[in-house]
Homo-oligomer: 320 residues x 2
């Protein structure tokens, strides 16, 4: 089968053997996959990754010990947990210390014609959700994770920083949850995408970099930059909660005084549950079509990865 392969910072599309599912795992045939910023980071050496990347996907089950799954269109949880440790027993398999992670940690990813996942990781998709929306399930789940972690007081306004793909999804998820969202970004066109959901957008330009100080009880930083984090720390109210949603690859030099003096709570947030994400997709209220930059063939993955690294680019999809 055709598969994208990352090795020592290089990306290729190669012919490899079709994977053989273990007992309890299903064999899936890819329908559509999405390139995430994490994939780009993997190419740049994050996790010293080598192998097949890809963790955002929609696929058909072609082989499974459970006959009811065969032929079904699915998405899948990316964490392959042991099911026995104290985290797994609390339903926190995404923190299982023994986990592998689809396309990230020791489990071949979704940028291939076929992939495998444990059957328990799979979620059936209702026919009302098209592939082009379902492929966003994983990042929508990551956005929904904020609602699992933070108890927002009603009517408390939230600032979301960053109009990248994740920032746009977070703003939408929080707004659809009934919260008043302010989205700060550098790209007028991207900010425009989410306006129909009643999100107040704020264009931050070099000419107008001014941001409100100590204004918001909740700030979500989805910029992935040290500058963005510093802005978030300035915008947060005393006793406020700052959710860090994207890792900052540059080292962050951090002044602890404001955090302590203003008693800020900083919440690291990563993967989420697929259930709430699929439920939200089913409502049809998320604005996803304008978030798709381009759909490429798997064989064109190297080019697509190049394009995914250009500034301001939205979601790149790969189809087999």
């Amino acid at each position: 089968m055709l598969a994208v392969q990352i090795d020592s910072g290089k990306i290729d599309v190669v012919e490899v053997p079709k994977p053989r599912p273990k007992i309890g795992h299903a064999l899936l045939r890819l329908r559509l996959a999405g390139i995430c910023n994490t994939d780009v980071e993997l190419l740049r050496g994050y996790y010293r990754f080598s192998g097949i990347p890809g963790h955002e996907f929609v696929a058909d089950v072609v082989q499974s010990g459970n006959p009811q799954l065969i032929g079904k269109r699915v998405v899948g949880d990316i964490n392959l947990a042991c099911g026995r440790c104290k985290y797994c027993r609390k339903g926190l398999g995404r923190h299982c210390p023994n986990r592998t992670v689809l396309g990230i940690v020791r489990h071949p990813g979704a940028f291939a014609e076929y992939l495998t996942l444990p059957e328990e990781n799979l979620h059936l998709l209702p026919s009302s959700i098209p592939d082009e929306h379902a492929v966003f399930t994983e990042p929508i789940a990551a956005a929904c994770e904020i609602l699992e972690q933070v108890r927002f007081s009603e009517a408390a306004s939230i600032a979301v920083l960053g109009d990248g793909k994740l920032g746009l999804l977070i703003a939408q998820v929080l707004a659809l949850h009934g919260l008043p969202v302010n989205l700060f970004g550098r790209n007028a066109g991207k900010l425009e995408i989410v306006k129909p959901l009643g999100i107040k957008t704020h264009l931050v330009t070099r000419e107008n970099p001014s941001l409100p100080v100590a204004e918001y009880p909740y700030v979500v930083d989805a910029t992935g930059s040290a500058l963005g984090f510093a802005s978030a720390m300035r915008m947060i109210q005393p006793r406020g909660t700052l959710v860090m949603k994207s890792t900052v690859s540059e080292p962050l030099v951090f002044d602890t005084a404001p955090l302590i003096v203003n008693e800020i709570t900083l919440v690291g947030s990563r993967c989420g549950l697929f259930g709430p994400a699929i439920k939200l997709l089913k409502t049809g209220q998320l604005i996803l079509d304008p978030m798709i930059e381009h759909k490429a063939q798997l064989s064109e993955a190297a080019d697509a990865f190049g394009r995914a690294q250009e500034p301001g680019v939205l979601k790149l999809l790969l189809e087999p």
Copy 2:
């Protein structure tokens, strides 16, 4: 009156006019004061401080618009809040943006024969609490603040890092709250102080620096060092809560990946309410006597500040 004066990194004891209380403020005559690490930081230039430092004190009310206060022995909240802003209205005067702070921000401190504070800041002391214990009210309140901010699940074990004055108080407050506390420190003698409260102590030496990894659902960092914070980040479990209790004066270079991947919550924590602290002092269960290093005269403050900066030194007290 005699007062300690810090100016441009120098400390002197000087004769200054007795302060005149504003309307609504009481005039207090010092009984006993304590030197806090923050005072040492002020001498080193923190907040570009100049003036009379000191915020840990016990005093007698000698002048007040409220005759019932006169002659009473009191401690006092160190934040002078406006009483009108949205923080004050929520009972969070310690986050009032208009506040001054006794001996720290634009209000002369307690290292003087007399000081003033708003009457509403004062708390009467029951006679059962001796001055030598009451002088710890402010740092005990700071330790109690953790219980205001974090909802500990019962039986979840806590690691407190740092056997300095604040670390010892935090360990005691949490243990007296019924929580299983593990105190990690570098000084066997200091660790010994809190053992009678059932606190499990762990001596961390150069020869034996090994600390458990991903072990604790709650970690309180009271080390005030970048190394201590790094240890705290390693010791915390995924989805755990790390309370930062002392500012780190050196810049902290911070890898955001573990915070986000493990979904750690970082809680900055500062001043607390005096009510719970006095209640705890009244029980007589806190072990405070061995935490007193030396009681000096106000006139010997420069020497006492010198001694307070020596490694391993416990609480230095000043009496008029």
